[in-house]
Amino acid sequence: MISFERVTKRFPGGTVAVDDLTLDVPEGEVVVLVGPSGCGKTTTMRMVNRMTEPTSGTITVDGRDVMAQDPATLRRRVGYVIQQVGLFPHRTIAQNVATVPQLLGWDDRRTTARVRELMELVGLPEGVADRYPHQLSGGQRQRVGVARALAADPPVMLMDEPFGAVDPIVRGRLQEEFLRLQREVRKTIIFVTHDIDEAILMGDRIAIFSQGGVLEQYAAPRELLADPANDFVIEFLGSERGLKRLALIKVSEVHAEPGPVVNPNAGRTVARDVALAFGTDYVVVVDDGRLRGWVSLHEIDDGQTVADAPLRRFALQVSAEDSLRAALNAMITSRTGVTVRVSSGDRYQGILTQDVIAKEIM
């Protein structure tokens, strides 16, 4: 959808901001450009809608060379969101959102309908439509910025640290909503940030840049974390690379073992045989498919059943959609050292062991 071919940007004075960049952004994906300041990530983004022009090389959007198009026309088809938002202080929220439809000459009825639809889409209360930007909170202004960029339904969006100016709690919520929104609208997005965690969270693919606009690696987040190309990437990913990777893998993607399962009526001998087979000193009690808890072998007396022994609960359980990071957390907080996987209604699906986690990190 967006493609850079041997693109270089050299500023007057000789500073190279982007160095011989070749990169393809597939349709409907979020590509995050990340790197330290001065790595050319913002310059790279700005060349897509000609806010900055390349010194050499070719950039195409949907197969058409951007340098062959009228800048204003090109820009009306490319959504743009920046950290400072840049709302028009002299226009109401509704008028701000209507900016591009107005430039494109939409009639009033269509514009009004679109504005209402967008405000709802980004979660703005209807009451703010006639307010001015300075009357809104920072988080609300960011939402207006996103709504304004989406107004004419552009196929391509450029976002430069769009959530950089709000506090961490609001940022987390905006990120989550953004991902939900993107699942709905499926735009082709170039997203710039200096925050690797945000990159991992938001990106279908991540391009890591170093000083002087050199592309160090371009890969999906999981691949990046599993197989960093060089020392620069390793250092940039930070010390918790393994944990970050686990956060991206879902429980449903790894094998759950059946585990030392008994039903409540099992006697002491049966329980011991089952535990032995799995190498544990406890059994998992499952009654008619439903998880009840676990029982320590030492607490089952001779001649008694599992049901007579004190039943302990698993404080944390995981289900298919949880991450392996959540599974690891459950594991290290349980005396059994494993995590149980359940589906809705506490239906037992097996256990996850540290071996499974270790295999993923290696």
Binding site: P71, A72, R75, Y80, Q84, L87, P89, H90, L103
Partner: protein, 219 residues
């Protein structure tokens, strides 16, 4: 000869019998204020735009209009007489020149004050330069531009009182009358009218600004 202030400050019967004079002096004063303001702004505005476009022009432009501003008005009127005689132009041309410094400076500063991110966002959404100026930069610069117009208007109203010396009327005529005849009433009338006119212009322009900048209310 009676000293100037020995009599009563205002002789109301004189005022009553000179209402026609008051009217025509006011009309003259208005013309001598409004024409330089309008023509001055018409010259200053494109100059300010040029200074925005080509930054190096701004320094020399300010220096030149600053020098014009420092020339004493009476001297400038006197210098004009050989060129334009004792016509109204002799008053209008210097008065217009005096407006340039304040109008150019405030227009440029107003446009400069438009936040970079707002300008950037407008361009990135596909505004042409002309439309950016008309729909974004000018509305946002308006308070600073109007501030320039207000101070220019008040300054000009004061300056116009001097033009009576070259026979162009205005409230200055009352001052001349009063000085020559050692009679305080016309002086007081001219003073009050002059101040009143300045206040009317100042508040009028402020009202125009209020009406044109709804987003600034209740801030």
């Amino acid at each position: 000869m009676t000293p100037l202030l020995a009599q009563e400050l205002v002789d109301w019967s004189w005022v009553a019998s000179h209402l026609d004079d008051v009217q025509s002096r006011t009309a003259e004063h208005l013309v001598l204020t409004v024409v330089p303001l309008v023509v001055g702004f018409a010259i200053a505005f494109p100059l300010a735009l040029a200074a925005r476009r080509w930054e190096p022009l701004y320094g020399p432009m300010l220096a030149f209009s600053g020098v014009l501003f420092t020339i004493p008005s009476l001297a400038l009127f006197a210098l004009m007489i050989p060129v334009t005689g004792l016509s109204r132009l002799t008053a209008l041309i210097p008065l217009t020149m005096y407006t340039l410094l304040l109008l150019v400076r405030n227009t440029v500063e107003g446009l400069r004050g438009v936040p970079t991110d707002v300008r950037e966002a407008a361009l990135a959404m596909g505004y042409s330069r002309r439309r950016l100026l008309r729909e974004v930069e000018l509305p946002l610069a308006l308070p600073v531009i109007v501030a320039g117009l207000r101070i220019t208007a008040v300054t000009t109203i004061g300056l116009v009182t001097v033009t009576a010396l070259i026979g162009q009327g205005g409230f200055g005529q009352f001052f001349l009358d009063g000085f020559i005849r050692r009679f305080s009433t016309p002086i007081m009338v001219g003073l009050v009218l002059s101040v009143a006119l300045a206040v009317v212009f100042d508040l009028g322009l402020l009202a125009v600004q209020w009406a044109m900048t709804p987003w600034q209310r209740g801030r």
